[in-house]
């Protein structure tokens, strides 16, 4: 019962963060601020959504024993979450570096301190 309430709260937070990411991609002016909305919000939202799956699966796993398919589902969901947490910031960094090196300036930028860092 209490696990169901925690699961609903986790699903609500995760869906809200994903919706904020989708809105932020349309409301922000340039690539770098869109990168904030698009990668950080979805990473944080995926933590909560996969966490909800893990909570429900672990509760079934504990009650029915290790022979239930929820045990495998729990482990594979945790592996998927670890993969997301490892790859999402890395790809965000790669996109930001590629955008700066291809010559795109931030909106309303005055000073670019990374200009001298260009190869």
């Amino acid at each position: 019962m209490i696990l169901d309430i925690i699961t609903y709260i986790c699903i609500g937070i995760g869906c809200l963060l994903n919706l904020l990411a989708a809105i932020g991609l349309h409301r922000f002016p340039d690539v770098y601020t869109r990168l904030h909305a698009g990668t950080k919000c979805t990473t944080f939202g995926s933590i909560f959504l996969v966490g909800a799956v893990v909570i429900q699966s672990v509760s079934v796993w504990v009650t029915e024993g290790a022979s239930s398919p929820q045990s495998v589902l729990t482990l594979h969901a945790v592996i998927a979450l670890v993969v997301i947490l490892l790859t999402n910031p890395t790809s965000a960094h790669a996109i930001g570096r590629a955008a700066h090196r291809s010559g795109i300036k931030p909106a309303r930028a005055v000073v670019d301190d990374l200009e001298k860092e260009k190869p």
């Binding site: 594979h76 993969v83 570096r97 590629a98």
Partner: protein, 83 residues
Amino acid sequence: MWLPAAIFLAVCATIILIRLFLGPTPPDRLVGLDTLNTVVVVSMVILGAAFEEIIYVDVAIVYALLSFITTLFVAKYIEKGKF
């Protein structure tokens, strides 16, 4: 409880897809693609929990790794102009 969350994530993916089509510059489209990949991976995990199919979660893991490679290659292409 899982299917409404999956439908909501599909709506979010549709909104992100509009940015993917509209994006003025190539890095904008790449940001939209990266966000869309994360949302699709999470909705695959949600659907795996909804239908109790473990193969969906396995597909989600492989999709996450392959989309990471895709994002890195497109970013490298945008950066240098050639592979």
